[in-house]
Symmetry: C2
Subunit: 465 residues, 2 copies
């Protein structure tokens, strides 16, 4: 019998060795070390000399650097000394291909902007090729300013998907339906077929999530609004709509249905936790209650709402009511950039002024809205929006060894009030290094800039600008 | 007699040759070529393939590149292809040494901020050494974001002057008087002596302008307000004061004198074209009329006014009344950065929202306020604030061959709505190249950052932050 014991012990040695080894020298793919790691987890953990450990597309561990370096080794080690390491920002509402129209028409009224500028140039210049090029430019801009996931609402979303996969950025793509001809479809039915094709094509894709959108309560019929929601539900897709953006919209829907835009959509049964409502500026107390109860995702776009004078969304009230709030830039034709750091800064200033109270939406709340809040709006909070074990490795590293970020008394203050988006140094998405030392590795930036300038030259020639 | 004519002709040949030469190949010091030159002159000239010619500290010519290169040569030629060339921004109100307190206390009420945070740390940590270091950091930050002149209101301004001259930035320096002990003087009388010393020391300096400030109508007695103005007038100095920043101040002065803060100061006879009024948030129609008639310079600080919930200055009304309006950042303890591009952007969004009208303060107006408007407030519009022949060569060159500034349909839109301050590539002040390809040539940035971090560590240690 003793012999058998010895043999068993002998045989178990390699297994024991492997076990010990796994505790002292686990192999990872990337270790980010020595950074100020702002996790944005549920209790707001910050590791001041922190490390994040990545294997494949996921975060497998994080904590103090010394501890992590004892447990793990990796071929790629990024030193984040004097840098902030945080989850990539999530842009919960934009129209990215509209970069080709950046600055085309500013300082004018909304109806003038839409009917005399945007609709005519869209009809003429929006096609698969321009959407691809405009989207590439937008992705470059977003990466440089720390956005790793965006929610796009536009046309030809297959082109956006292809560009996103080439560049390596995470994309939530809503092909847009409306009750008139779009650049991509003669009828909403054609649009729905296109969305079905996209949903099948990108099922289980590691970067692309397909969804759909209907434009707004005032441009889409009740029938289309309901039909599109049923299609979305049947295909397990998220559903996005512009809601209560302007007083004009509020008054129009009110006079038509004797219901607020939110009440009207609720009466159609389309408000639930898989619906994203962009803007939500003109809300009643009852609307806030409905949005919170239905767990609708709210995409707040402060800069666009200010620039085209739409008004101020009641974000402090929505947060208080427990509503799900994320942050977006809207399209650059009305912003005019995709810089989410700037958007966070403006969001904070706007609500402090609007409430005449400097305490509302403090810096940490703003950071939460721009990361995990937006992720939640997109139904992706279990995958992205914070640095936690098991989540996707969507991480940005920001250089704060600069005059404008010195000194640091409170890291959330630095992020919201002092940083420029352009201080972002490195971007990792899905475990891949996409930008390193401000260089995007997956696309030639200058070529894209040249391509967009060519499109712009054609627009200028045609429209005498 | 004929002989004399021949001799005279012979003698005049060299002079004639020199004259011809000067028209075809004048020597300059620096030529900036191939840029989009935004002059901000009185008619808003833009040269799309433009050049600026600099000799000594001045702009001696500007226009189309081909024409300028025919007329001038220079040892230093800067190619500004794909770049915007414009006057350096002028920050018309700030407290630059307060960079050492950046982010110390955010998201709290003004009185809490002042009495529990700022006043105690100022009493303890503001001295000649920290003012010098904090000012150096601020100057680095300002240069990187395109500011070439700033109006500082603080203490130990001699230290700021020395730092400014070392770095090569233009400074308008207001030593601050108040009715209690300051870090620099036990009494206002001591402060006035110090200002007299500064005014003598920097008389006719090529970078430094000495002025004075009294803190506000609520912290200074009528006697001090009047006495300081008389001293300023006798010494030909500008005079700065915080005016009508908060509703609390408006109500306090109103209850004390039955006059608005502006009416009160007017009754003391201190409002004229050599007075700078910072903030001017709480104004009546009559106040606006007084400020415009007296040609008082108004320093608008939109981000600070939003962040500490002071309110919205009636800038569109002031501009309409013909008042002189400039732009400022205020100190970073309440902003939290010195980025004038960001400030221009916020200024535009704020007033469009406040008036619910996207037409107000269009991009070109904003650029004028941030340059020639601020220069006017400081009484320096004949020297700086626009690119014109005979003016000082204070020029910034901004890289716009970037995703966030592509395409360009309207260059003012690009400057106000799309740019980041950090896109500034080169800075020339007084004809000297101070920053080239984002490197400041006159100071080691990392050393200054380290020095500020040391001060911050002491503050943290003492105040448990």
């Amino acid at each position: 019998m003793k012999k058998i014991y010895y043999i068993l012990i002998f045989l178990s040695i390699p297994i024991l060795l492997q076990f010990c080894n796994s505790n002292t020298n686990n192999n990872a793919d990337i270790i980010i070390k020595n950074g100020t790691v702002v996790t944005v987890d549920s209790v707001g953990n910050i590791f001041y000399s922190g490390a994040v450990v990545i294997k494949d597309d996921k975060i497998i561990d994080l904590g103090n650097t010394d501890e992590m370096l004892k447990k793990y080794s990796a071929e790629t080690v990024i030193d984040a000394k004097n840098k902030i390491v945080m989850p990539g920002l999530v842009n919960s509402h934009t129209h990215i291909a509209m970069t080709i129209f950046r600055g085309l028409a500013d300082d004018i009224k909304l109806q003038d902007w839409l009917h005399n500028y945007i609709f005519p140039v869209e009809a003429e210049f929006v096609n698969p090729e321009t959407v691809k090029i405009g989207s590439q430019l937008a992705m470059i801009e977003m990466l440089h300013s720390g956005t790793t996931t965006f929610n796009d609402m536009y046309f030809f979303e297959d082109e956006v998907a292809k560009a996103a996969k080439e560049i390596g950025i995470r994309a939530f793509l809503c092909e847009s339906l409306i009750n008139f001809k779009t650049p991509n479809s003669k009828t909403p039915e054609e649009g729905i077929k296109y969305i079905k094709m996209l949903a099948d094509k990108y099922k289980n894709d590691n970067l692309i999530t397909v969804a759909l959108s209907v434009h707004s309560p005032y441009t889409c019929s009740s029938e289309l609004i309901v039909k599109a929601k049923k299609f979305a539900d049947n295909n397990n897709l998220f559903y996005q709509i512009h809601v209560a953006e302007t007083k004009w919209e509020f008054d129009t829907i009110m006079s038509q249905y004797n219901l607020t835009p939110v009440e009207y959509l609720d009466s159609l049964g389309v408000l639930d936790d898989k619906t994203i409502a962009a803007h939500c500026v003109w809300l009643t107390e009852n609307d806030i209650k409905i949005l919170a109860e239905r767990k609708v995702g709210i995409a707040h776009n402060p800069e666009c709402n200010m620039k085209i004078s739409s008004g101020v969304a009641p974000i402090p009230e929505l947060l208080l009511a427990g509503a799900e709030v994320g942050l977006g830039t809207d399209g650059v034709a009305s912003n005019n950039n995709l810089n989410m750091f700037e958007e966070m800064h403006t969001m904070s200033l706007l609500h402090k002024l609007n409430k005449m109270n400097p305490i509302v939406v403090p810096a940490e709340t703003i950071v939460r809205v721009g990361t995990i809040g937006s992720a939640n709006v997109l139904g992706m909070a279990n995958q992205i929006g914070s640095l936690e074990i098991g989540k996707k490795a969507d991480i940005i590293i920001i250089d704060v060894n600069k005059a404008n970020t010195t000194p640091i008394f409170n890291v959330y203050s630095t992020i919201v009030y002092s940083l420029s988006g352009t201080d972002v140094n490195d971007v990792i998405i899905n475990g891949e290094i996409i930008m390193r030392n401000k260089n995007i590795l997956s696309i030639k930036e200058d070529d894209v800039i040249d391509n967009v300038n060519e499109i712009a030259d054609k627009i200028k020639l045609k429209h005498n600008r």
